[in-house]
Structures are given as structure tokens and as C-alpha cells.
Amino acid sequence: MPSLREWQRAFSAAAVFNDAAALASLRIVAGGMKPEARIGIYRANVLGNYRRALAATYPVIKRLVGAPFFDAASDNFVRGHPSTRGDINRYGADFSEFLGSYPPAHDLKYLPDVARLEWAVDQANIARDAASFDLTAFASVPAQLHGELRFSLHPSAHLIVSIFPILHIWQANQPSCSGDERIDLDEGGDTVLVLRRPSDAGGIAIERISRAEHLLLATLAAGRTLDEAANRCAAMAPEFDLAAALQRHVAGNTIVAFRAPVVPTSESGA
């Protein structure tokens, strides 16, 4: 008898990769049904679990390509990208990257970006909760220090830039839509903010934002000061109304916290 580890390795090879030698080494009792058929039940269960899990995370991708294509993509993905955790709900972080190099999806150039959007929605659903922006504390910061402040985005906030109209594609492929709408891939790309609304407002918001807004939020999310973000935005889009954008994203709960600059003490200030 092989060790339990060798035996489990063989079971995995037989169930996931149809490895005949591995199957033989398991010494399965036939009992009226061939070992191939018995291990086949596990293969169907395992691959089926991943098909369902990926379809739950990527419903728009499934609708775009159809069930047979999606299921085949899922099976291929599973074989090359093993799940690394016991929680199947979080499986599929690399699905977008996989679709980008999956030969049958070669002509569907927009798929990886739509998948990134769906993954962001999934992650936004489970991200940490956060208190809203403390306007009272902010009011007590002298205006001349505002430029030195650093801001944090809500843990659910995700920013996605695509050269394809991914939000339009996503919207046209929701369960309530007929799916007959023709979308021109050359209509222009989408820059999108994904954000979980406070529990009383419910659900995930997916919002198209301007490139300057994206630059502002991405710069703040990277831990830069407001001054740095303002300079970058001014260089990219001189007409951009930074104050209005900030106000909107504080009110909308995209920006949830700020940190004042660390003032050096006299001991450490040398």
C-alpha cells in the first residue's frame, strides 16, 4: 500500500487528469461498476463544483460565451490553476488572465477586462466594512494643511480601466436584459469604479468615472498626499474640478478616512 500522501496524489491525478496508471494504483473495488466509472463520478463532481463556483463569480462571462464554452474553459482553467484554499467561493482570481491566453477565446479580446470587472464585484461584496468619512474631524483641520492630507478609499473600492466598453457590456448582459443589443467595441473604453454601498443603500455600485477622477482616486489609494494627486490631475486635465470630485466621493463613501501628516517632534526633527 502506498503512503496516504502518494495515494491522495494518485486519486487527484486520476480524478482531475484522467491518469489511468494513477487510477490503477488506487486499487478500487469494482463491485458491479468499473473503477473508471466510479472515479468519473468524482471527476464530474469536482469539475462541476468549479463550473458552478466560477459561474457564480463570472455570470456575465458565462452569458457572453454560452454554457458549453464556459464549462470547457472552466475545466481547462482548473487543471492549470489549482485551487489553493478550502473555500471554493474565492476560487478564480486568475480567470481573467487565463481568458487572455486561452486560444478558443482569442478573438474575444474584451473578455479578460469584463472578467476583471466581475472579480472586482465579487471582492467588493466581501471586503471589510468601514466607517464613513469623519466630516467633523476634517472640519477641524486647518485649510493650509489640506494638501498634506492622505486619504483612504473604502476597502471595497476597485478601479478598472479598459480600452473596451466593459460597463456597457456588463449592463447589457444582466439577467433582466434580452442580450440582443449590439455593442460597438470601438465606441470607446470604460473607466469604472466598483464600490459596495452602505448596507441600508444595498448592493454594489458600478459607476463610470472620468480618467481624471480615476487618477485622483488611484493616486490617493496609493497613499500620496492630496497635493500630489491635485498636481497630477491638473497636469492631465487642467479643467478637472478636484474639489467637486472630492466632495462627491466623500459623500458617496468612496473616500472614507484621512490621515494628517506626521509632525516631526523636536527630538526627531533634526
Partner: protein, 279 residues
């Protein structure tokens, strides 16, 4: 004031996402609810908030599908840590896992895979149950799984293996009557052998579910009503071990909540009838 922690000796149902809104709004009359632990391995958001709200009205059982007590790989410390966090957040009446394995060399198959019933597997599972009980600081319930294979190298029967895990570790058993029936049919054994082998005081919870009989063997789909012979075996189980918290599980083709409640009501009648006989 949250509902009592302990699972009552009554019928409960598995709570799945399609029914969460309904349960929160209507608070149906059912003794307790069971959820899959992994569905709440989240940092925040609506799912865990809903479970915390529901916990105020019902005792909750946390039923894990991914800890993999039987893997030759080391226990997944991150998974166990998540489970421990969830246990302290929800204060469940029971925490259960399956007597199976699901990962090897770090590759997770995310399924309840069968163990060979060998001394090596038994010793490993017992070590893991000890480790989990010690990490969580509480008694774990361990569930027998359905299986479509048996192995020439099995050194003991399934019921000997299950009973030995309970005896050696002091864990309790989640006695899945449907899985026993499915295995008895698929592997040609007499389910009553199971009832005789298991120490009655080890059984802390019972599961009931439906299977699919359309193929060459019974498949444990949790996708149908409890079959008549499984109800029969359930009656024998309750007569043998006494009434225990009993769960209706339904995971695929999930029907309206009323159907689950109707199945639970049937289990409740059996539990109460048994009480009357015992008194």
C-alpha cells in the same frame, strides 16, 4: 438578547443564500439553522451581516466543507484561523466538519473525497481532530460522507473507522443518515451494522437529505426530498440513539423555503413520537 446557543433537540434546516432574505423577514418557525462555514469566510459585507442578524433569532450550526481532516498535507492554518474567527463571531451551537480529505500537495479539489479505511488514515484523522478541537477549544462534530469507491486496501469497515475516530478523540458524530443509506446501497452493506457499531452518546446531530438514483449508483446530491427508505432508517436511528437535533440539507436545485420547512416538520414528528415512546 441572542437566541440560545445550544442546538435544540428539534428539526432545523440548512440556510442557503436564496432563502436568507425570506428567513430574515418572516422568521419561520424552525428550531435552528445550519450554514456552510466557508460561505462566511469574509472580512465584511452583507452576507456576514445577515448571518449575525439571523443569529439573534436562531441557534446556528457551522458546518464546514473545506478543512480537510484527512489530508496528508498539514492542516491549513489560514482556513482554521478563519473558522476560529467565525466561531467567535457567531457563537454557534455546533461546529462540524467532514470525515474526508480534499487537498494534496497544496492542490485543493474542493470536494468531500473518500479516505481509505486504513490504520494510517485513522491515526492521521484522529491527530487532526485533536488539533482542531484544541485550536477551537470545543468539541468538534465529524460527519460520515457518501462514497462511490471502496478500496482493496481497506483494513476495516466504514462504521469501525467512524466509531474509532469518536472513541479515540472524544469528538461527537454528525450522523448523516442519507450518506449511510447511499453507501449501504452502493457498497452492499446492511445499514443496521452502522447503528450497532456507533456509541449512542457520540451522536450529537443527524443529517437528512435527498439523493439521485438515475444512474448506476446512488449519488448524494442534496437535491431532492428525503427518500422513503432514508426516513425509515432515520426512524431506526432515532429509536437507537434517542432524539437528536436533525437537519434537512438541500444544496442543489434549491426549492422554495416551504418545502424545506415541510421536510423539517416531518422530521419533527418523528423526533416527538420517539420522545413519547421513550417517556
Amino acid at each position: 438578547m441572542p437566541a440560545s446557543t445550544a442546538l435544540p433537540v428539534s428539526a432545523g434546516i440548512g440556510l442557503r443564500s436564496p432563502h436568507i432574505g425570506h428567513v430574515r423577514a418572516e422568521r419561520p418557525l424552525v428550531g435552528w439553522l445550519e450554514v456552510h462555514s466557508e460561505n462566511y469566510f469574509v472580512d465584511g459585507g452583507p452576507a456576514i451581516a445577515a448571518l449575525e442578524a439571523i443569529r439573534r433569532d436562531y441557534p446556528i450550526s457551522l458546518h464546514g466543507v473545506g478543512l480537510s481532516l484527512g489530508s496528508a498535507d498539514a492542516l491549513d492554518a489560514r482556513h482554521l484561523g478563519r473558522l476560529k474567527q467565525l466561531v467567535s463571531r457567531i457563537d454557534p451551537g455546533a461546529v462540524s466538519e467532514h470525515l474526508c480529505w480534499s487537498h494534496v500537495d497544496g492542490r485543493h479539489l474542493n470536494d468531500l473525497l473518500p479516505l481509505p479505511f486504513t490504520e494510517e488514515a485513522l491515526a492521521l484523522v484522529c491527530d487532526r481532530v485533536d488539533a482542531v478541537q484544541s485550536a477551537l477549544g470545543r468539541t468538534l462534530l465529524v460527519e460520515n460522507v457518501s462514497a462511490y469507491v471502496r478500496f482493496d486496501d481497506d483494513a476495516m469497515s466504514e462504521w469501525e473507522f467512524v466509531a474509532a475516530v469518536a472513541r479515540r478523540t472524544g469528538c461527537k458524530l454528525l450522523f448523516d443518515v442519507n450518506n449511510i443509506y447511499v453507501n449501504a446501497v452502493n457498497h452492499g452493506f446492511d445499514a443496521s451494522a452502522y447503528l450497532t457499531a456507533i456509541p449512542a452518546d457520540a451522536v450529537a446531530e443527524i443529517h437528512l437529505a435527498g439523493f439521485d438514483s438515475s444512474g448506476d449508483c446512488l449519488i448524494d446530491t442534496h437535491g431532492a426530498r428525503v427518500a422513503p427508505p432514508v426516513w425509515e432508517l432515520y426512524r431506526a436511528t432515532v429509536a437507537c440513539f434517542g432524539p437528536k437535533p436533525t437537519l434537512i440539507e438541500w444544496d442543489t436545485d434549491i426549492p422554495p423555503l416551504e418545502i424545506l420547512l415541510d421536510e423539517a416538520a416531518q422530521a419533527q414528528i418523528i423526533l416527538e413520537t420517539c420522545d413519547a415512546i421513550a417517556a
